[in-house]
């Protein structure tokens, strides 16, 4: 009877996001997008795994982060970046912070893609760890 996605009688936000994320990623195979591994790719442990766990497709995010770094953007070193991100994500989900960035026009361009700043910072952290 137990449903691993259920939490206190309803869907937890985290579970829904992950479930939705997998569905999205699976669907994108139709247009040739890399699929995140369902059973978890093993990444080298890092002091920032609590943050990087927010990324449902860490490989895709790392590509974005790498492009941001190659694009000449100036970003803090990983420790400072992580401190900044923990401050932003401590009590709020990535989806909420992303929405807030968009509302406030906190945007970064990565190879022309208009992206929320926090998402790009997290992607840069992923690129630095997975480099």
């Amino acid at each position: 009877m137990s449903d691993p996605t259920r939490d206190r009688g309803g869907f937890s936000r985290r579970a829904v996001t992950i479930g939705g994320g997998i569905a999205v990623a699976l669907g994108l195979t139709a247009v040739g997008v890399t699929v995140p591994r369902l059973f978890g790719k093993h990444y080298r442990k890092s002091p920032y795994d609590d943050l990087l766990a927010q990324l449902i497709d860490r490989d895709a995010a790392a590509k974005v982060g790498k492009a941001a770094l190659q694009g000449g953007g100036i970003f803090p070193d990983p420790a400072d970046l992580a401190r900044e991100l923990r401050g932003r994500l401590e009590r709020r989900s990535l989806a909420d912070v992303t929405a807030s960035d968009l509302d406030q026009s906190n945007l970064v361009e990565v190879r022309g893609w208009v992206l929320p700043q926090t998402l790009v910072l997290l992607s840069v952290l992923a690129a630095e760890q997975d480099g």
Binding site: V16, T17, G20, G21, A23, V24, A25, L26, G27, L28, A30, V31, G32, V33, T34, L55, I56, D57, D59, A60, A61, K63, V64, A67, L94, A95, T98, A99, L102, D103, S105, L107, E109, V110, R111, G112, W113, V114, L115, P116, L119, S123
Partner: protein, 494 residues
Amino acid sequence: MNAFIDARTVPAGTVLAPDLAIIGGGPAGITLALALAQTPLSIMLFESGGLDFDAATQALYAGSSTGVTYLPLDASRMRYLGGSTNHWGGWCKPFDAIDFERRNWVAHSGWPFGIKELEPYFARAQSLVEAGAWRYDEATTAMTAIAPPLKLAPGGVYTSWFQFSKQRGSVLPTHFGERYGDDLKRIANLKLFLHANATALKLSANAAGLETIEIAALGGHRFTVKPKRAVLALGAVENARLMLASGGVGNQNDLVGRYFADHPIPRDTATLVSFSGEMAGYYFNSVQAAGALIRATYAPTDAFKRKARVLGSLTTVENPVELNELDKAAIVTAALALGADASNARAFSLGCGLELEPDPERRLTLTGEKDALGLPRLKLSNRVSNADFQRYRDTIKELGRQILAAGSGMLRLNYDSRSAWEAALDWGDHHLGTTRMHVDPKQGVVDANSQIHGIANLYVAGSGVFPTYSASNPTLNLVALTLRLAEHLKRLPA
């Protein structure tokens, strides 16, 4: 029916003396003649070309340009009855109220009047361009009933609507010469001359009035017109040329030919992704709805124009595009972060038309080279400022923010350098601004009634009088402005 008169049959040395001479048979000249039908005025309209394209006549338009690459001057307009409506795409959109304002972030902006001056003429103008029922920004409900528009979060860009001139089978929109030729023949107080080129304007000794206009046909035939009043309706380029070639008519303040503008149309300025993959057909093509042919466009709101200090722009969705690995990674990353379903995502290129800031150094001047009738040819010094590109980039970046905030898609800006913008540049063939309107003769060639400052009986019609240009396509608006001029002329004493 008054048959059109071939100017080559008019005896040399003839002096014609109409109440009103209209020089040019494009949309402005034809609109003016139609609007003044059945008035007591005796009217003569002089058109350079015939009823069809003729290479020798078209070659009279040839000129040169420097600076930012521009279309050949003899390719960006048409010289026969109907003028440039003969290659018109039929895109219609009225000016917005803000287009008339003096905007403190737009140098040389401000019309002598507001949109309310033009509004009474829009219905008739819409009818003349045959663009169906007046919908434009009221079209949203009808279009949403066909298919939902791509959702945008609140912000500085909104979904607006073009309308299109009537299409007849495979024939492109209303060609004024073809469409209104028979109507013109039925106007009892009009004589229309074909193959009649104005080659000189001659003013009175005190330069306060037009005395005569010299007319020539290819082959050497010449005669004179001595009208009570005249309206130059040759298009923004040729009006300036004739005025400059006639010793600088209206050019006492060195303004004639300055402030030239067109709408830059850079291609593939951005890539728009629809997470759902759905984009209604009306983004790509005009769709018949609510009594009109309608196509969607993205436009900045007035509030955003003020806040972000941008000018007008109209962005259209063009063609499907392929994505590379980084593009796909960006889509996955953004969609997952927002909890959006991008499993059927598709991408499309965006195109646009931009409003330029008025620039006195973007100008037409005469050269030493002459055409077959002895008129000096023109040189266009063309410029587009970095700020003009940046303002548009700011606008579509805001569009990207709104799409992503709505969770409906995202956007990539494709150009971030001047060279990239210039490489993608095309033009609208919309000649604007060379005889700009201003109440102050030191800032404009014509006054609020389109009369050339200081010359009591000489007027200019067409988009050359626009002091600022809007992003809206000019034809509908210049027709409305010409109808306003017609009302002014009707009120003048005989």
